[in-house]
């Protein structure tokens, strides 16, 4: 099966000379939820803007369902809905007028029944005759989502959809995303909330300083890069680590009552057995132990730091 979006050797240099993207290669699979992570200014919005036709690429190319975004832009853009990062909204128009406009703009005949159902699913139906300027920020965000979905796209881009959004709306939004995925819509989102990516995405791409430094299945990413920590609660607190334990990655916390051992899940040899034996030799007793796995957040922070 060919990818729904294929980005090849894509680069972008803004007129200022700033190189926002360098040699991006990325395939998005049909029907997946792909999360793009990266610090501010990494190039996430630039990448999305190029695929959607808002920014011109400097080199390289993109195809959407096999259609080149420059030469077959009609076919490629018809498939895409975009919710931009900024709250770009009309002011004086009503909610109904603006979603009707969006549907027409994307070449679809009017379908009031679909739009009604769409607005209802976003809790916007009661506001359909309100002027957009009279809506709160969260409501405006919903309007932008409704506009992006007004033409029933096969691919949805959500550029930081949950920035400045309350818990309720965030939950609604993720429910909507799940529902869309069930209908076969491919979703590409950017977010700064890593729990979100962890919870929602199938695959994760990390972008930093215009370079895609990693693309991985979420689970294998956590497995591959994850570190585990073993925490030992000591019977009696100690003031310093005894000699002979220096070569372990150990940390003494909790006023000397806890020992934290960090190890790689995939190492041939975790060293736990030796550690416990050595502790025993030094007559350090423990009453309890627990192990934990690092989250995507830790992985992400480490990755970006590494490539800084």
């Amino acid at each position: 099966m060919h990818p729904i979006i294929s980005v090849k050797q894509l680069g972008k240099q803004y007129a200022s000379g700033h190189s926002a993207l360098e040699d991006i290669n990325l395939d998005i699979h049909k029907g997946e939820i792909f999360a793009l992570l990266g610090p501010n200014g990494a190039g996430k919005t630039t990448l999305i803007s190029i695929i959607c036709g808002i920014v011109n690429p400097s080199h390289g190319g993109v195809t959407v369902d096999g259609n080149d975004i420059l030469t077959s832009y009609r076919a490629s853009r018809s498939l895409i809905g975009l919710v931009p990062q900024e709250l770009f909204t009309n002011t004086f128009e009503t909610v109904w007028a603006t979603v009707t406009f969006s549907r027409g703009l994307f070449g679809k005949p009017a379908n009031p029944a679909y739009l009604e159902q769409l607005l209802r699913s976003l809790s916007l139906w009661e506001k359909k005759d309100s002027k957009i300027m009279a809506l709160s920020g969260g409501m405006k965000r919903r309007v932008l989502i409704a506009k992006a979905l007004a033409h029933e796209p096969k691919i949805l881009f959500l550029d930081e959809p949950t920035a400045g959004v309350d818990v309720d709306l965030r939950r609604d939004m993720w429910n909507l995303v799940r529902k869309l995925r069930e209908q076969g819509v491919t979703i590409i989102l950017t977010t700064h909330y890593i729990e979100e990516a962890e919870e929602m995405a199938d695959r994760i791409g990390v972008i930093n300083k215009g370079r895609l430094i990693l693309v991985e299945n979420k689970h294998s990413l956590i497995n591959k890069l994850g570190k585990k920590q073993l925490t030992l609660h000591l019977q009696t607190a100690i003031s310093a680590l005894p000699n002979g334990l220096d070569h372990y990655e150990l940390e003494l916390t909790g006023n000397g009552s806890q020992l934290v051992y960090t190890y790689d899940v995939h190492a041939q040899h975790t060293g736990i057995a030796e550690l416990l034996k050595t502790l025993n030799d030094h007559q350090i007793d423990f009453k309890d132990l627990q192990s934990s796995q690092s989250s995507l957040e830790d992985i992400f922070v480490n990755l970006v730091r590494e490539h800084a």
């Binding site: 803004y14 007129a15 959607c52 036709g53 808002i54 920014v55 011109n56 832009y73 009609r74 076919a75 490629s76 853009r77 018809s78 895409i80 975009l82 931009p84 900024e86 770009f88 909204t89 009309n90 002011t91 004086f92 128009e93 007028a97 009707t100 406009f101 969006s102 549907r103 027409g104 703009l105 994307f106 070449g107 679809k108 005949p109 506009k147």
Partner: protein, 253 residues
């Protein structure tokens, strides 16, 4: 051809017109009516005829032209500048629409509005000043061509401008003076010979002259030349718009 998109843009822009009816239609009609009251009825009755036409009737085509030019430019420039300014242009840029469709929607709406306005001013003028239209179809043709051309020109200004203040600059500093000096209120035959020659560099002279010919059958320059010049402006503006979309000038980074 994405007909739905043209329709969507056109209706969206026209909705803005109806929403701001006072500002977009009523105010130009009122201000132009004042000219007819003052120059047509009050002062006009004491002025001599020009080319056998009463002064009040003589100024009607020029005044309609004045409104047509300034309103076409300001409608079209505002229409495209606003989404650029607020950022909502992202949607048009990401939609499956060709430059031709975008321009047809935006410029078509701006031109429609100017044409409606022109006809309203014409009707208002008729209340104050008696006149006949010798070539109504030509009159309409000049009206439509001019509205279209200057809406295209406004579209270019709206994309070029990087602030709302700049939208006003060209209409106020160039178009209004050129229209006043282009024979709205006098026949260029009334000027000293040197100025008659200089005036011919003013493009608006050809627009007004042709338009006045369609009313009264008299003109400062030949009708063929007027038509030719009008079509030239149209071509230049079409080229400008084509260039903007080709290069992405001030539309896309």
């Amino acid at each position: 051809m994405n007909i739905y998109a043209i329709r969507a843009i056109y209706l969206f822009e026209m909705a803005r017109t109806w929403r701001t009816l006072m500002q977009s239609i009523a105010s130009p009609v009122i201000s132009t009516s004042l000219y007819f009251v003052v120059f047509g009825s009050a002062i006009g009755s004491r002025m001599v005829e020009i080319d056998g036409i009463s002064y009040g009737a003589f100024i009607v085509p020029g005044l309609i032209m004045l409104s047509l030019l300034t309103e076409s430019i300001s409608n079209a420039s505002f229409g495209i500048h606003m989404p650029k300014f607020t950022g909502t242009i992202y949607e048009v840029l990401s939609a499956p629409v060709s430059p031709f469709e975008i321009v047809t929607g935006f410029v078509g709406a701006a031109a429609s509005k100017s044409i409606i306005l022109g006809i309203l001013i014409l009707a208002t003028a008729r209340v104050f000043v008696p006149f006949e239209i010798a070539h109504p179809w030509w009159m309409l043709a000049f009206l439509v061509l001019t509205a279209l051309t200057f809406s295209l020109f406004g579209f270019i200004i709206g994309i070029w401008a990087d602030g709302f203040d700049k939208l006003q600059v060209i209409p106020a500093m160039i178009i209004t003076p050129l229209t006043f000096l282009g024979g709205s209120f006098y026949s260029i035959n009334m000027l000293p010979p040197v100025w008659q020659q200089i005036t011919l560099f003013n493009p608006v002279v050809y627009l007004i002259s042709g338009f006045r010919w369609s009313f009264y059958g008299v003109a400062d320059v030949s009708v063929g030349l007027s038509l030719f010049m009008t079509l030239m402006f149209l071509l230049i503006c079409l080229f400008g718009v084509w260039w903007i979309f080709k290069t992405g000038y001030r539309l896309k980074h």
